[in-house]
């Protein structure tokens, strides 16, 4: 089998699929050229992630990485969600094949993009360097 049991579980029974009306933060990363787009919706109350949903256009591991990362940040503080790394996502998935690691990176970046959107919408000050800059990322051109 190409993927771990956990990856297949999250891919075939993805958690938290969908959208949130009036989301407090929305983040979308990736592009169709690469073949992966992830979109994360956050509902935030009192600095706590009360609800999270995702939509993903991509391969099995991209869907699984989105699904598991929504579980990992649900109920956490914004700072805790911001601290989630792709490495943790890979570990939680029980590993990913090397060419699929970028799917976990996208999951981390989608969450960060959604939190950045939340900060921007609410005029909250933040350190810009801690967010990925998709416009200047050349990930897709490297392959």
């Amino acid at each position: 089998m190409l993927y771990s049991k956990t990856v297949m579980d999250h891919f075939t029974n993805p958690r938290n699929v969908g959208t949130i009306d009036g989301a407090d933060g929305v983040g979308e990363v990736g592009n169709v050229k690469c073949g992966d787009i992830m979109k994360i919706y956050l509902k935030i109350e009192d600095n706590i992630i009360k609800d999270v949903k995702f939509e993903t256009f991509g391969c099995g591991s991209a869907i699984a990485a989105s699904s598991i990362s929504t579980e990992m940040i649900m109920g956490k503080s914004v700072e805790e969600a911001l601290a989630l790394t792709n490495k943790e996502v890979v570990e939680a998935l029980g590993g990913l094949p090397a060419p699929k690691i970028h799917c976990s990176v996208l999951a981390e970046e989608a969450i960060k993009a959604a939190i950045k959107d939340y900060y921007d919408k609410n005029g909250i000050e933040y350190d810009k360097t801690q967010f990925p800059d998709c416009a200047n990322c050349d990930h897709c051109d490297h392959h």
């Binding site: 993927y3 297949m8 891919f11 075939t12 993805p14 699929v17 969908g18 959208t19 979308e28 169709v32 050229k33 690469c34 073949g35 992966d36 787009i37 992830m38 979109k39 995702f54 939509e55 993903t56 256009f57 991509g58 391969c59 099995g60 991209a62 869907i63 060419p99 699929k100 897709c140 392959h143």
Partner: protein, 396 residues
Amino acid sequence: MRVYADNAATTRMSEVAIKAMMPYMSEVYGNPSSLHSIGQEAKEHLDNARAIMAKNLGCEPFEIIFTSGGSEADNQAIVSAATIGARKNKKHIISTAFEHHAVLHTLKKLEKQGYEVELLDVHENGMVTAQQVKNAIREDTCLVTIMYANNEIGSVMPIKEIGAVCKEKGVLFHTDAVQAAGHIKIDVKEQNIDMLSLSAHKFHGPKGVGALYVRRGIMLSNIIEGGAQERGKRAGTENIPAIMGMAAAFEDACNNIDAHTEKLLKMRDRLIEGLSKIPHSVLNGDRESRLAGNVHFCFEGIEGEALLLLLDIQGVCASSGSACTSGSLDPSHVLMAIGRPHDIAHGSLRLSLSAENTEEEVDHILAVVPKVVAQLRNMSPVWRDLQEGRREYVIQ
């Protein structure tokens, strides 16, 4: 139910082929290069296999070289023609943008050695015309290499017409017939083919064996150096069990082309008709000039690898040209060649049938694919954008 719909990748070996191979493992085990009776007995059978291949291709037995498969045959044909060309200072090669990598990568290598490779544009329907070839041929053209049928989208090229143009201009013509051999009637003389590659495991023969037809008088260059097997053009003791299996499978396939085609066309056309009903889907490859077992679609808003995995769980084994299945971030070069944008090229599905498939299996595929496509679209932000008008459909 588990349906194998990936026969363009490989086929199940036929009973005929397996049975033909068995005696050559323990009974007729000699080395055909040996002078003693046990070796000569093996040689007799090897000659028979060569005669069977030749008969079914319309050539002479000595015009057949056994290889390790289609890739080796492609490599040898192209390198040989290039070497012949270089002697006459002809270093221009014509091919197409949607060849198999066994051809494209060999051409890339030749390019580095100073050859000029011209890849013809492939029409949106997956076709290349004889006129395009005619227009591209120059004084210094040494080879035209164009596949018989495309391995992904199944379009079948006008080989006889292309061959006629090459013959008229005195240019060598090679065709990679890996997807066509055993499925379409081939007569190399009648179709003006100078060199042709085929592979046994695409027509229910064993893996790891193929053949190269080379018209009399064309000087081959070795890819594998060593002993004097195969007229000194392909060293290494012949894989007799595999060659016997290939010959039996090829003869069986060629004898049954009409019956198999009739059966396949019914199943194929039902699949094409059924899958066309999925909104925003498009058939790739020519509708008429296509392999009897090939069905190839793009579905907008989804990605092919996810599609394949879910189909597999639902009992359908198929293939895709998505980036994720190719091991790179670029989708299939074939879909790029016919002008499909990345957006939809990632969402491709190839179903390739053999005569072993059944109408019940077609029913199962038709029940499962629309469901799985809808399931993936339901979680796709691209699909939502399309539905809500934030993105333009590529496929209407």
